[in-house]
């Protein structure tokens, strides 16, 4: 056996020395240094979180759409709760004794989980309550105030577009560990999409606090404090006065309005009616159940989510595809005798002169003409069979932005739907359908769904004679110079040479003289060359939907608009006035005296009764 007494002794000495170092440190901590005793008996570190203010949201002209204001939350720290002046507390915040007891019991049941943290006891108390509380804070041990910045809205506009701020829920916190309980997050609209820019960074100050719940001094003279970094402001492409004007026109109507600048894809106005009112947004949590139970579904952002049949405005697309495919020319005439008849099938039409050429068919919105054009497209001998012709048509339509998300910068956009041969093979079986089976697609009915945004985009395509830019809301974020909106230029599969004749039809539909059969004469604006197309989408559940898309001026268009009014009746009667008034306001800044009656009539229209049984 090896005897290594020296190693043994060194190891023992090493152990003893190390453990004596620990004892020595204890002597220092527990016997010599008094700081920790004082700290433990009198002081507790207190972290005051400094919440950053969120970035502001401006319209294109620098008007504030979403601002900030201070709000005060009363916090409770259960660990420090002692018997306190409950009567005084209740009287400040107008609480009944029972409410107070219930809230305290609820906090008490969560005591373990809360630990040494503070949680919100009362949310967003008034400034007056806040000052009264502060005066008597020493009588309420365990309570404190947290100042937060909340949203305010200088003008009441469509909340679906903006989104709201709400306390992050558990589900969100699990997915986003960088947030902590009590943080507010943006939900829906711009607030959610641009959360990373808007939110800013939290900071905190650390204080030492004495037994009387009073802050004594900053910990280490603020060496560990961190200031909050405010969120970044953003400039949107919206035109606030136009948005307000549009919402005024849409009052008491259900539907959507979208106006955009066709030369850039910038959205000028986006309205969902009836939408979320901004008055609910500041303290959304308090109104949540009320909003959710509203039968008009204000949370549903119709402008980008609903999938409607586009109705006659879709004739523009079919006409262009027919021209590109060579199955119709501007001079081809088709006759129409109150509709299109083939065998037992009839697609009705209204009374208008007959026969019509292509331009006139747009101007008068003849159903029979487009039944012919659409059958020519599907039964085109260039294609082996109807299946390839149908799928080819689907490709054409998709190139206009239909049947897919356009990529607008607010969450929740839906793609709508454009049928292909597969759709009908599922319904009717292979070879179970012909061009007559799907004839309603000719006039934008049937198995076709488009969002109002896609219709506005169609207006932009018409304005640009064949291309469009990704519709978007945010122009720039001044504090983030690297930010660029994601905008792409898309070309439709129809050459620009085919557009003028259709655009002429749109021009004539609005501006042709009385008695010519033009469908949208109501939309004509003195001094503005407006081009438009009406639509009346059949609605099995009630009155037809009223649709109108337009752009102006004809040369170098500045604005493209789509208006979709649920159960509005003829396109010309409801949607066209709204759209044309909007265009007039944007381009001329006022409403011409000769159209004042139209403005007043539109304001008075109340279609809500059609929606509430």
């Amino acid at each position: 056996m090896e005897n290594r007494a020296r190693e043994k002794n060194i190891i023992i000495a090493f152990f003893v020395i190390c453990l004596l170092i620990l004892v020595g440190r204890l002597v220092f901590l527990q016997l010599i240094n008094q700081e920790y005793k004082v700290t433990a008996s009198n002081n507790v570190l207190r972290y005051e979180i400094i919440y950053p203010s969120r970035g502001l949201i401006y319209d294109r002209n620098g008007n504030i759409m979403v601002g900030n204001q201070s709000a005060y939350d009363i916090m409770i720290t259960p660990r420090e709760l002692e018997p306190f002046d409950t009567t005084g507390f209740c009287s400040i915040f107008h609480l009944s004794r029972e409410q107070m007891d219930k809230m305290l019991a609820q906090i008490d049941s969560r005591r373990r989980a809360i630990g040494y943290q503070s949680v919100i006891f009362l949310r967003q108390v008034s400034k007056e309550q806040y000052t009264r509380f502060l005066e008597r804070a020493h009588r309420f041990p365990g309570f404190s105030v947290q100042t937060r910045s909340v949203r305010n809205y200088p003008s009441a506009i469509c909340g679906n577009l903006l989104g709201y701020i709400i306390e992050a829920d558990r589900n969100f916190l699990e997915k986003n560990p960088e947030y902590r309980a009590g943080d507010y997050i943006g939900r829906t609209g711009l607030e959610e999409y641009y959360e990373p820019w808007l939110k800013g960074e939290k900071g905190y100050s650390i204080y030492l606090r004495d037994v009387h719940n009073q802050i004594k001094s900053p910990y280490e003279e603020g060496a560990y404090d961190k200031p909050a970094v405010p969120g970044k402001n953003m400039v949107t492409s919206l035109d606030l006065p136009l948005q307000i004007f549009g919402e005024e026109l849409m009052k008491n109507k259900v539907g959507s309005v979208i106006a955009l600048d066709p030369s850039s894809g910038e959205i000028l106005t986006l309205i969902t009616s009836t939408g979320l009112s901004t008055e609910y947004l500041t303290n959304f949590g308090a109104y949540y159940s009320q909003v959710i139970s509203d039968p008009l579904k204000p949370m549903f952002n119709r402008a980008i989510m609903s999938s409607y049949p586009p109705g006659s405005v879709f004739k523009l697309v079919n006409g262009l595809i027919g021209l590109q495919e060579g199955v119709v020319t501007p001079n081809v005439r088709y006759s129409c005798n109150m509709g299109y008849r083939a065998g037992s099938l009839t697609v009705g039409c209204h009374s208008h002169p007959s026969p019509l050429n292509l331009m006139q068919s747009v101007m008068m919105s003849c159903n029979a003409y487009y039944c012919n054009v659409f059958r020519n497209i599907l039964d085109n001998p260039e294609y082996d069979n109807i299946v390839t012709a149908m799928d080819n048509w689907q490709e054409f339509v998709k190139s206009f932005g239909f049947g897919q998300k356009l990529g607008i910068d607010i969450p929740g956009e839906l793609p709508g739907s454009i049928p292909g041969s597969g759709t009908y093979e599922r319904i009717y079986g292979k070879n179970g359908w012909t061009s007559l089976t799907v004839i309603s697609l000719a006039i934008g009915q049937g198995e076709i769904g488009a969002t109002p945004l896609q219709l506005a985009n169609l207006a932009a395509v018409m304005a640009n004679s064949g291309h469009y830019y990704t519709p978007h809301l945010v122009r720039e974020i001044p504090e983030d110079p690297e930010f660029r909106p994601t905008v792409e230029r898309h070309h439709v599969m129809v050459d620009s040479v085919y557009f003028p004749v259709i655009v002429e039809g749109m021009y004539q539909a609005v501006n042709a003289p009385a008695g010519s059969g033009a469908t949208a004469r109501l939309a004509a604006i003195p001094g503005v060359e407006l081009c438009g197309k009406t639509g009346t989408a059949q609605n099995p559940h009630g009155e037809d939907h009223s649709v109108f898309i337009c752009f102006a001026p004809r040369e170098d268009p500045k604005i493209a608009v789509a208006v979709y009014i649920e159960q509005g009746g003829f396109g010309a009667s409801q949607a066209a006035p709204v759209a044309s008034l909007l265009v007039e306001k944007y381009l001329t800044g006022e409403i011409h005296p000769s159209r004042q009656w139209l403005y007043e009539r539109t304001l008075e229209q109340d279609l809500l009764t059609r929606h509430i049984e």
Binding site: M1, I11, L19, R25, L29, L31, Y36, T39, A40, Y224
Partner: protein, 475 residues
């Protein structure tokens, strides 16, 4: 009772058993106090941690009795098998492991949660003893070192994969065993010096670490040198140059430190000193001086490479991880907060403590990991300096006892194993208590016999009682 059993019980080291029982009892009381809630007064309430700990303690005693009944030779014969079993357990965790408290190191069998990484100490101690006690084993051969390194590093790597850095670092403690068995002393010494320098150069500014190294070198030189006067001259001339030149320059209105950093000035002044010493060392063949200069120069290189590595090569999140591991995290919500609160709790205990259940700081979840890694806070707060140092002296007593037991083993197997036990207990105790009072890095490892948790308690019970069994049959 047969005569053999009679002598067995007489030969069992009851001092160690007593120390063990007292520590376990202190542990239970501290856990009770740490999680005490007047609403749950039942001692056996298994919804509370002290209730569960009661069960773990009885389990541990049962385990101890079983261990005492197994013949000693079993461990020696099956040490390799047991070691491989341990490795397989670690491997199985990588496949079947369940995440709990941030690391995937737990195996779950119904209601039982089990952490093989904690148990690894037992297998490594047995395996190491098995390999090193073979008749033809020599530690100082390449083969020997290779074997030992593999035995320790394989489980360490597996534990690291499970994200239990602390428990992997524990295996470093076995270097103490190697030292006892003939590893040259300068290896652990250099290791310790390097670790301390490494930590200091992250925590302190380089200038302070440089000064510390220099002062240590001067003291060593003073003690080791045959003639003291040259050392004295070196110290005085260094101090004179270092301090007087800046003052002189200042008289001419030149602020030296506006142009160069202080540590660069330090290096400039040190350079001639090193060169002169080196010439002297080779000229007069002073071995100690050569070693000293070598250590000094390599320390400087280490200090600066750590600083460079840390600030330039590592990404911010990696820096943060290391800072967190070392407990110098600036984030007040992070471990900086734990250590501050832990120091407040212990410091407020004073000389005799606040009394049982009277701790204010350790109530509620003030100090996180209250009953596991930071259990020493309760002891320090409620029992004060008296209680806390009593615990430390108990460990000291147990460690010395274990070493004495190990030394008197006739078989080298028992001795090597015994040193393994001592090394593990020491490492856990020193790091754990050290982190609660802010002198060691915050590495989450439990306090032996005291911290809450079945795996930890059983592991240390096994470690200790296997040794006691070997000792009782040592003839």
């Amino acid at each position: 009772m047969s005569r053999r059993e009679h002598t067995f019980f007489r030969k069992l080291d009851w001092w160690s058993v007593a120390a063990y029982l007292v520590l376990v009892l202190i542990g239970w009381i501290s856990i009770f106090s740490a999680v005490y809630d007047p609403e749950h007064g039942q001692i056996l309430d298994t919804s509370q941690r002290y209730g569960m700990q009661t069960i773990w303690i009885f389990g541990a005693w049962f385990l101890a009795i079983v261990v005492l009944l197994i013949p000693t030779r079993f461990y020696e014969m099956f040490s390799t098998v047991l070691y491989i079993l341990g490795i397989l357990l670690l491997l199985s965790v990588l496949v079947l492991g369940v995440e709990r408290g941030g690391s995937r190191s737990w195996l779950v069998f119904g209601p039982v949660h089990f952490q093989p990484a904690e148990m690894t100490k037992v297998f490594v101690a047995l395996g190491l003893a098995g390999v090193m006690s073979r008749p033809h084993f020599h530690l100082r051969t390449f083969r020997g070192i290779f074997y030992i390194a593999a035995l320790i590093l394989i489980p360490a790597a597996l534990i690291l994969l499970e994200d239990e850095t602390g428990l992997a670092l524990v295996l470093l403690a076995f270097i103490i065993v190697l030292y006892r068995e003939g590893l040259p002393g300068w290896i652990p010494l250099t290791g310790i010096a390097a670790i301390v320098l490494f930590l200091l150069s992250i925590i302190w500014s380089p200038l302070y670490v440089l000064w510390l190294t220099l002062v240590i070198c001067f003291i060593t030189a003073f003690l080791a040198a045959g003639r003291k006067r040259p050392v004295f001259i070196a110290v005085v001339s260094f101090a004179a140059v270092y301090f007087l030149i800046p003052i002189l320059l200042d008289l001419f209105s030149i602020n030296l430190f506006a142009h160069i950093e202080k540590y660069i000035w330090f290096l400039i002044v040190t350079a001639p000193l090193v060169i002169v010493s080196l010439i002297l060392a080779f000229h007069k063949r002073l071995t100690f001086l050569k070693v000293l200069i070598l250590s000094f120069v390599s320390s400087i290189i280490l200090i600066f490479s750590v600083g460079y590595l840390f600030n330039n090569v590592l990404k911010p999140h990696q820096q943060e991880r290391i800072e967190t591991l070392l407990g110098i995290d600036k984030d007040i919500y992070g471990s900086g907060y734990n250590v501050y609160q832990s120091k407040v709790a212990i410091g407020s205990g004073g000389f005799s403590g606040k009394g049982f259940l009277q701790g204010t700081q350790t109530k509620y979840n003030f100090v996180p990991e209250q009953s596991t890694d930071f259990i020493f806070c309760s002891i320090g707060e409620e029992w004060g300096f008296l209680g806390a140092s009593l615990v430390i002296f108990l460990y000291m007593f147990l460690l010395i006892r274990i070493i004495q037991i190990s030394e008197k083993q006739r078989h080298s197997y028992g001795r090597i194993y015994g040193y393994g036990v001592a090394a593990c207990i020491f490492f856990h105790v020193f790091i754990n208590i050290g982190m609660t009072i802010g002198i060691t890095p915050v590495i989450g490892i439990p306090l032996p016999f005291i911290s809450y948790g079945g795996t930890s308690l059983w592991t240390f019970t096994l470690l200790l009682f296997i040794l006691l069994k070997m000792d009782a049959t040592n003839d």
